[in-house]
């Protein structure tokens, strides 16, 4: 299940935020600290989660510390959906 969530998040981030679908994005690659996206993009991730998984992540959870890798975001979705 969480592998599916990771793949869905990865596809969303590659197609809509990084906009380079062929980029090899690993589960543990640092997204914001690694410079792949800026913190503005977290709002887009939040909207994607709301649309796809039917719950709205709390604004205070949308921080670089909590959401810096595909795995961290997927785990969060898994735990809160």
């Amino acid at each position: 299940m969480s592998a599916e969530i990771r793949d869905a998040l990865r596809a969303f981030i590659l197609n809509n935020i990084i906009r380079r679908p062929s980029y090899k994005l690993g589960d543990d690659d640092s997204l914001i600290k690694g410079g792949l996206m800026d913190s503005f993009s977290l709002v887009e991730v939040q909207l994607f989660i709301e649309e796809t998984y039917g719950f709205r992540p709390d604004d205070v959870d949308m921080t670089v510390e909590n959401m810096d890798t595909v795995r961290m975001i997927a785990d969060y979705v898994q735990a809160n959906r």
């Binding site: 914001i32 410079g35 977290l42 709002v43 205070v60």
Partner: protein, 571 residues
């Protein structure tokens, strides 16, 4: 919120005041219980209302502490303080003793703290600062720099409210504060602004935006940038008009907070960089806007990066159901070297849109109105110069050009910088017969200014100024990148309404996996050392990059080559 009855500083009343202190004393004396600032903290914490009495007494605690450790008028104070009430007090406290506050860009989640503090150390040493005022959580790291200057943090202040004094031994010509451009290059250029210049700007700009005592300014802008510092802090305090302020880090995570604040406090004025119009239009849901009304607004003022008519349309369409009308959209051209605003458009009427011929623009450098069927460029006017400013368009020989000819924008006013702090050489380069050469290209038509491009090597991303040289130097240090064989440039991003940054690096290897890893390192280091992220790192073979005849990397030519190759890849 207490209704203000401030007597405004306008061009006709300007002569009554010599310094910012003289001007603001009247708010403390005459309207101490009126609201100066409402600070909106992150999350659901209650908003903090600060009256003029509380504001100036809070500032006086810093003033007393600084005076106590021997800080003198005209000494430089560097502020390494998070976006908080403490920053407001620290800034004004330094002003109150006639010292020169300068706000250092905030430490964000992605920056490497060690490198950040090293930047502070370098700034202290080359600027000759006499004191650093720091947020409590940075005090230890700053003390460990052994920079030789005292570090003052909130914990060091006297516990009682201070007694404000508005009579420091300074005059109108003395420097009030410094504004820095972003990046390492920018730190070399502290823009020194005198008390007189700042008051001139506030008086003149207030007239241009038809400021009244009934206005209420809402801002999430960082205070280390001219738009945030002047429009989102100094102007409202000097005028006695209430300011509703939130942190940029909070706003980025939760952009609706600005809209809720406008609704709750009946905000009337809000300054935004262009990308924010797209961001707000695309990323706030209806269910986050229940009960919100933006009908109180007089103007959303677009400023500090190239403005796009399309961004205005998106924003106006998205928020029309919440009371936004096209006549609320305004435009402005501003720079730290002029304190802030040079022109203002869209206050008395809709901002002018000029449809010009693309062909004439690119081949003849002329902004000719487009004929039927011709490819057009849609130019959004920056408006007319504000009362204290003159604008000229000049050619390479710095001679004035006629209307609708493209050249460099030159500005002259009584709100210009006194100079770059301790850098008379840079000041001499930037000024010509009293005119400041902006490094922007543009044209004048019917008394209004249009910006068409940039002469200087500068990328503006989300209102942040980034020097490509800084980014290239970082990339050059990554192992596997050919030193000195890197180029960074901006690429228009229509969806985001701003520029994205691309870095091209010549690689020392042609192994794909190794190149991928090198590119990853480049991205990471840029993220950790600067305020921006790269949208693409393009690894290329040796000798890919074009150089000019004088041996410099040619940004424009390399940008064109990159765009061609990426377009070809995508078929």
């Amino acid at each position: 919120m207490s209704k203000p009855t401030a007597r405004l500083l306008l061009p006709q009343t300007r002569a009554a005041y010599g310094t910012l202190l003289e001007r603001t004393a009247q708010h403390y004396q005459e309207r101490p219980e009126a609201t100066a600032v409402v600070f909106v903290p992150p999350g659901s914490a209650p908003h903090i209302t600060i009256t003029y009495r509380q504001f100036f007494e809070g500032a006086a605690r810093y003033a007393e502490t600084l005076r106590g450790i021997g800080v003198q008028p005209r000494d430089l104070a560097i502020l390494v303080v998070d976006h908080s009430e403490a920053l407001l007090y620290a800034f004004w406290g330094a002003l109150m003793i006639g010292a020169i506050p300068s706000i250092f860009p905030f430490l964000s989640d992605k920056l490497d703290p060690a490198l950040y503090f090293e930047r502070v150390r370098l700034l202290i040493s080359h600027s000759g600062a006499k004191v650093v005022i720091a947020s409590a959580q940075y005090a230890e790291a700053l003390a460990a720099l052994n920079s030789g200057v005292p570090i003052v943090s909130e914990a060091a202040l006297s516990p009682s409210e201070g007694t404000p004094h508005f009579a420091a031994a300074i005059s109108a010509e003395d420097i009030a504060f410094l504004q820095h451009s972003s990046g390492t290059t920018g730190l070399q250029k502290g823009v020194a602004l005198s008390h007189g210049a700042v008051l001139n700007q506030v008086a003149s700009y207030s007239a241009a935006i038809r400021l009244t005592a009934e206005d209420c300014i809402v801002s999430w802008l960082p205070l280390y940038h001219d738009m945030g510092l002047i429009a989102g802090f100094v102007l409202p305090i000097v005028q006695g008009v209430p300011l509703v302020l939130m942190s940029p880090h909070y706003w980025v995570r939760d952009p609706k907070v600005m809209l809720h604040a406008i609704s709750q406090y009946r905000g009337t004025l809000c300054w935004l960089p262009n990308f924010a119009y797209n961001f707000l239009a695309q990323r706030v849901r209806d269910n986050a806007l229940e009960g919100v009304s933006l009908a109180s607004m007089r103007a959303f003022i677009n400023c500090s990066e190239p403005m796009r008519a399309e961004s205005h349309r998106q924003f106006a369409a998205r928020y029309a159901p919440y009371g936004v009308k096209p006549e609320m959209l305004a435009t402005c051209y501003a720079m730290a070297e002029n304190t802030f605003a040079v022109t203002q458009g869209g206050i008395d009427s809709l901002p002018t849109v000029d449809l010009i011929s693309r062909e004439a623009l690119s081949t003849q450098h002329v902004a000719r109105p487009a004929a039927d069927g011709e490819l057009t460029a849609e130019m959004l006017s920056c408006g007319a110069p504000i009362p204290n400013c003159e604008v000229q368009i000049v050619d390479e020989a710095r001679q004035p050009l006629p209307e609708r000819h493209i050249g460099e924008v030159a500005v002259r006013s009584d709100s210009m910088l006194s100079g770059y702090y301790r850098r008379p050489d840079l000041t001499d380069q930037a000024l010509f017969n009293g005119w400041y050469l902006t490094g922007d290209y543009g044209y004048l038509a019917n008394g209004e200014l249009y910006i068409t491009g940039r002469k200087k090597d500068l990328i503006i991303v989300g209102g942040k100024n980034v020097y490509p040289q800084d980014l290239e130097a970082i990339a050059s240090e990554v192992e596997g990148v050919k030193a000195g064989r890197t180029v960074a440039f901006g690429v228009e991003d229509d969806r985001l309404g701003t520029e994205s940054i691309v870095m091209v690096c010549e690689a020392e290897t042609d192994d794909d996996d190794a190149r991928f890893e090198i590119a990853r390192q480049v991205r990471m280091r840029v993220a950790q050392q600067t305020e921006v992220s790269l949208s693409d790192v393009y690894m290329v073979d040796a000798k890919w990059l074009h150089k000019t005849s004088s041996g410099k990397i040619a940004r424009g030519a390399n940008r064109e080559k990159y765009l061609r190759e990426r377009a070809a890849e995508q078929g």
